[in-house]
């Protein structure tokens, strides 16, 4: 069986200018540099990494909102048509996006019910009377009451707004939902409500999620598989329990040990020196080597391939088998 979403060798470069116009030199920014993964129906891939690592660009590439420089995206075995074309618009019905900030994803001057119905009109689904019915039913499915239909976005709480965004995405019966930091703007007690809702919807509708977040705890909660990105590449990918309990790649180790926990006990923290470099100045060899406490000469020269390890997960590190087992080194 082929996976619902197949992404292979996906890359996107941007031409940027370094320094002030008109004197700056033109340079190439590799936002995403050869990313491959698959998501099956009803399953979730969690994508984690720090700002600027290319997670959001990956999300946009998957939906065709940004044109890829290389590589391809297949949905249900079909190649994603060129952005903006009629077949692409039709295919967009099968894949929807949920953004971080629901208030800016909604039109403040339009009643939320109309916004939930709008995708039906865009894709020409149903007659206008049915559309309203369908929208009310979808709003109920995400835990909103019919009286919310006539409200404006500012009259709803953050959690309710995110439910509206979800209802609007789900009303066209998509197979894939790309969620870019869907709970980061919400308060802790509301995050749990939205995460539970996402899990319930997945169980009921068999949705596949590409779940992007910097919150590793939440990613573990929702994901069947996790991929860690650093400067446009996947550096580790595997089962969430395994990946968070015994991270293999030094960057994953640092990310996991950076999560604050109430009882740290004997586990030491691996605090990285420095900051992620500017993606325009991607270091040669392994992009992580300037911050890596284990780096050797080979890391500075040779880009490590993402390869399958003995325990089934995949990591892109020359030294991964030789590193100390204890996860914070």
């Amino acid at each position: 069986m082929t996976a619902l979403l197949e992404v292979s060798g996906l890359a996107r470069q941007f031409r940027v200018r370094r320094g002030a116009w008109p004197f700056g030199r033109s340079a190439t920014l590799h936002a995403v540099d050869g990313v491959s993964f698959e998501i099956e129906a009803g399953r979730t891939l969690g994508l984690v990494g720090e700002s600027g690592c290319g997670k959001s660009t990956t999300a946009r590439l998957v939906l065709g909102l940004t044109q890829a420089s290389r590589g391809e995206v297949r949905i249900g075995g079909e190649k994603l048509p060129p952005t903006g074309s009629a077949p692409w618009r039709a295919m967009r019905q099968r894949m929807q996006m949920v953004y971080q900030d629901p208030l800016s994803a909604l039109d403040r001057r339009v009643r939320v019910g109309r916004q939930v119905m709008e995708p039906l009109a865009i894709h020409g689904i149903g007659a206008s009377g049915e559309r309203r019915e369908k929208a009310v039913a979808m709003m109920e499915a995400v835990g909103l009451a019919p009286h919310h239909f006539e409200r404006f976005p500012h009259e709803l709480s953050g959690g309710q707004r995110q439910r509206i965004v979800l209802a609007r995405a789900l009303i066209v019966d998509p197979q894939l939902l790309v969620c870019d930091e869907p709970i980061s703007a919400l308060d802790v007690s509301i995050q749990a409500q939205v995460v539970n809702l996402l899990l319930d919807l997945q169980a009921r509708l068999g949705l596949a999620y590409l779940f992007i977040s910097h919150d590793l705890r939440m990613v573990r909660q929702v994901s069947h598989e996790v991929a860690v990105m650093y400067l446009g590449r996947i550096v580790e990918q595997g089962d969430p329990d395994q990946l968070f309990a015994t991270p293999a790649h030094p960057y994953t180790r640092a990310l996991v040990s950076a999560i604050p926990v109430p009882n740290r006990g004997a586990r030491r923290r691996l605090v990285l020196a420095g900051e992620p470099p500017n993606p325009v100045d991607r270091p040669a060899g392994c992009a992580f080597h300037p911050r890596c406490p284990f780096a050797v000469a080979r890391c500075r020269a040779e880009i490590p391939e993402l390869r399958t390890l003995a325990d089934g997960r995949r990591a892109a590190c020359h030294l991964v088998e030789e590193l100390p087992q204890s996860w914070a080194a």
């Binding site: 720090e50 700002s51 709480s157 959690g159 309710q160 308060d187 802790v188 007690s189 509301i190 995050q191 749990a192 409500q193 995460v195 539970n196 899990l199 910097h214 590793l216 705890r217 939440m218 573990r220 909660q221 968070f244 309990a245 640092a254 990310l255 996991v256 040990s257 950076a258 999560i259 604050p260 926990v261 109430p262 009882n263 740290r264 923290r269 605090v271 990285l272 900051e275 992620p276």
Partner: protein
């Protein structure tokens, strides 16, 4: 018990919007001892930032502050500007969430640090420059001498937060109030900044109030945590007590809503409903409408804060039950 460094007593804040007066803080009692690290946790709008902005007289004219903020005999509420300026920066310094908006974008880092040094310690010229360089070095900025000539936009978010910490340290304060100091930063940079704050505290014996929405961050970096809800402290206890035996249903709810990093995945238990609007608070306990353990008495009056043990205080009539 020793005299606390700072004592808040019945601190209230009312915002006058012109049309109505909205109470944002309903009487905060909080002591911070010398060298102690206290966490202040709560969701947006619970008043955790307003508490310290009010204490330092930083709220502006629409805010009416009541109660007392005592630091070594002085009461800061309603105090003349001269008294406040003796305290701000020198006794109590504050850093904020977004470092780049706290720094002036059109002045070099060195000038901004120098200004604080002149203001708080009377240093000028070469001695100020030398001290500025020492401070930048102290907060872990490499090549400090050259960085003094940089503008904030030339530094990353993490670096700017280090500069803010350096400016806060320039007055050698007894207490640093850090309001969500790492929320805008990436995970690995957050770890660096929190490590730095811990180091400075061990070195100088400075007290710390860490305001955060993240229980994990507070747990790792403070000795004691105050949980706030709708303008009140609902629970105040040592970290181990909060994580081992929290009493207030809201604290328990926050903990249950947090996913684990290890062990079996369990379904999260969200807190039902939403935080009430400050102008529309229930007459009794503010948490009652969302509380699982609510009884009729909860809706009668806001519960008083009671000590369960000498270091564990809870505002819930069902805490002992």
């Amino acid at each position: 018990m020793a005299e606390p460094l700072v004592a808040l007593r019945g601190l209230t804040v009312d915002f006058d919007t012109g049309k109505r007066v909205i109470r944002a803080l309903h009487g905060i009692d909080l002591d911070v001892a010398k060298g102690e690290a206290v966490g202040l946790v709560g969701e947006s709008g619970c008043g955790k930032s307003v508490t310290w902005l009010a204490a330092l007289g930083l709220l502006g004219k629409q805010a009416h502050v009541g109660g007392e903020v005592r630091i070594e005999g002085d009461n800061l509420v309603g105090a003349p500007v001269a008294t406040l300026e003796r305290v701000r920066g020198r006794r109590i310094a504050m850093i904020f969430q977004d470092p780049s908006s706290s720094l002036n974008p059109v002045h070099r880092i060195g000038r901004q640090l120098g200004e604080a040094l002149t203001l708080h310690r009377g240093l000028t010229g070469a001695s100020a420059a030398a001290e500025a360089q020492r401070l930048l070095d102290r907060v872990g900025i490499a090549d400090a001498a050259r960085r003094l000539g940089d503008y904030p936009h030339e530094l990353s978010g993490g670096m700017n937060q280090r500069v803010m910490i350096a400016i806060a340290l320039s007055g050698q304060p007894d207490l640093l109030v850090a309001d969500e100091p790492t929320t805008a930063l990436d995970a690995t940079i957050q770890a660096q900044i929190l490590e730095l704050l811990g180091e400075i505290r061990r070195e100088t014996g400075m007290a710390l109030v860490l305001i955060s929405h993240d229980l994990g961050v507070v747990a790792e970096n403070t000795d004691r945590v105050c949980v706030m809800y709708a303008g009140r402290i609902v629970e105040d206890a040592p970290i181990a007590t909060i994580f081992g035996g929290a009493s207030h249903p809201y604290t328990r709810g926050l903990l249950a809503a947090l996913p684990e990093l290890e062990g079996p995945r369990r379904r999260l238990v969200p807190i039902a409903g939403v935080v009430p609007e400050p102008w529309n608070l229930p007459s009794g306990c503010s948490f009652a409408p969302r509380c699982e353990r609510v009884i009729a008495d909860c809706e009668r009056a806001p519960p008083a804060s009671e000590f369960l043990t000498p270091d564990h205080r809870v505002a819930c009539i069902r805490a002992g039950a």
